[in-house]
Symmetry: C2
Subunit: 282 residues, 2 copies
């Protein structure tokens, strides 16, 4: 999915939000925005939003001196999600269709997103999403494909959300490779966030090799790409990964909440929809 | 009031909104946004938002070839406001305090604003504003000052809104000079919009000499500045004029709805507040 016109203002909002986490120096933030403005002419017809997102975040990191502005935010989100985990686990166990409930919860966890300028209230949003109708619901295909899958490549999105992914991993009962970002970018999950969520004991955690806030294959490592090419079942979480993989012809299921109007329009659903969508080729 | 950090993304949104009124050519809109990005490094500590607003609008006009993208929008807004005029006039006539009601209606008309990215529903918003509490209410000072004023300099804001200003002009019963923009910019009122609203028979319509979407004195004509310096009662409508005149020590009363969070914060009121505020020196 390419950078749309409505993404342009959003890059500035992302920069402001990230910068304000670590500084109140208005002159410094203005300098950051001047550098972000220099990215605008570099956007071509083939540019994918996470490519610019990475650059925006790089500018914030470099000029503020904070390599990981969302470090504390990510820690807090993981702690909050972990505090909810026992109750959610019970909910999955007691559900008529545990897999379906775990999928919904994995989508609910996707509200923990500081890159999409969509404020959230985790506990309230979970309740909403547990009963909200899926705007696209390829559950039957998901279940069928999962039954025949040897293993799962799970492309993670955000810190905190990993705890919700854990519920789904536990419910799928298949070997899972859990791919996180190589380096911190926005609140995207890196290895330590996945470990903190308790994924370590359940899945093999790997790095995608990329540090874009969304999975862009051309920036991923050879090791990741080998796994990706061989996988017979892939889960892609969240908006950023959708932006990077939406045109792919692989056995991918996208699980996300469409928190941004541009992505919602690209998928063809109302803004705010929850989605379980197979890739075109599935 | 200077350009704040949160104004930066908004300049891009303004450009997108204006461009989409006259073109669907995405490549052209991207070119516009590249030029808008070139404005960002020109923002200094003393820059006032309407200065950049004017440049943004100039880029849209030049690259699309439309000198007045909001021409049709302005015409429709005036027609809608005129259709409401008889009912509103009756409302003022029947009010316990006609002047107070006319002030509220003049503020209500300020929702007709395509520069502030705040969607509006004119008829519904009028009803709300007629009973909404003023977050700042200098009505007593307004009334006192008006009683002693020889004449009024009324600095207009948007097309359509002029019809609401007309109700206030009729109620104040003093000679009024009604200042509009020199040339079209966003949906700001120019002479023909004031004429179409029926101001011509009630007040002397003049141009401020400036074509910024907000009154910036350094860009106004000598004729306007003479009137401004001599005026003993000035009404400034809307956000853009507030941005340009907020630090002035003249007998100004600001009538506006704070549709943007940056302006609301600058005034010190909640976002969405309605305001009748005297200048610091009054």
């Amino acid at each position: 999915m390419k950078v749309e016109i409505d993404c342009y203002p959003c890059f500035f909002i992302q920069a402001i939000n990230a910068a304000r986490l670590v500084t109140r120096d208005e002159i410094l933030i203005r300098k950051i925005l001047v550098e972000v403005s220099g990215l605008i002419p570099t956007i071509t017809d083939g540019t994918i939003p996470p490519q610019i997102g990475k650059e925006v975040y790089g500018i914030v990191s470099r000029l503020t001196g904070f390599k990981d502005p969302y470090k504390d935010v990510k820690k807090r989100c993981t702690e909050q999600a972990l505090s909810l985990y026992p109750g959610l686990k019970k909910r999955v166990a007691e559900a008529k269709d545990g897999l379906k409930t775990a999928i919904r919860l994995a989508i609910a966890g996707n509200v923990i997103d500081f890159g999409s300028n969509a404020p959230f209230d985790l506990e309230r949003d979970i309740q909403t999403i547990l009963t909200q109708e899926l705007a696209i619901d390829h559950y039957r295909e998901f279940r069928e494909k999962l039954d025949h899958a040897g293993s799962i490549l799970f492309i993670a999105d955000n810190a905190g959300e990993c705890v919700f992914d854990r519920l789904l991993i536990e419910e799928m009962k298949k070997p899972v490779i859990y791919a996180v970002r190589e380096k911190p970018v926005i609140n995207d999950a890196v290895r330590e966030d996945a470990e903190a969520a308790g994924i370590g004991g359940l899945a093999k955690i790997i790095s995608s090799g990329a540090d874009t806030p969304g999975n862009i294959l051309s920036l991923c490592s050879a090791d990741f790409l080998k796994l990706y090419d061989e996988a017979d079942f892939i889960i892609s979480k969240g908006q950023g990964n959708y932006e990077g993989l939406s045109d792919e012809k692989r056995p991918i299921f996208f699980l996300l909440k469409a928190k941004c109007p541009v992505i919602a329009a690209h998928i063809g659903v109302p803004h705010g929809s929850i989605i379980l969508k197979k890739a075109q080729s599935v």
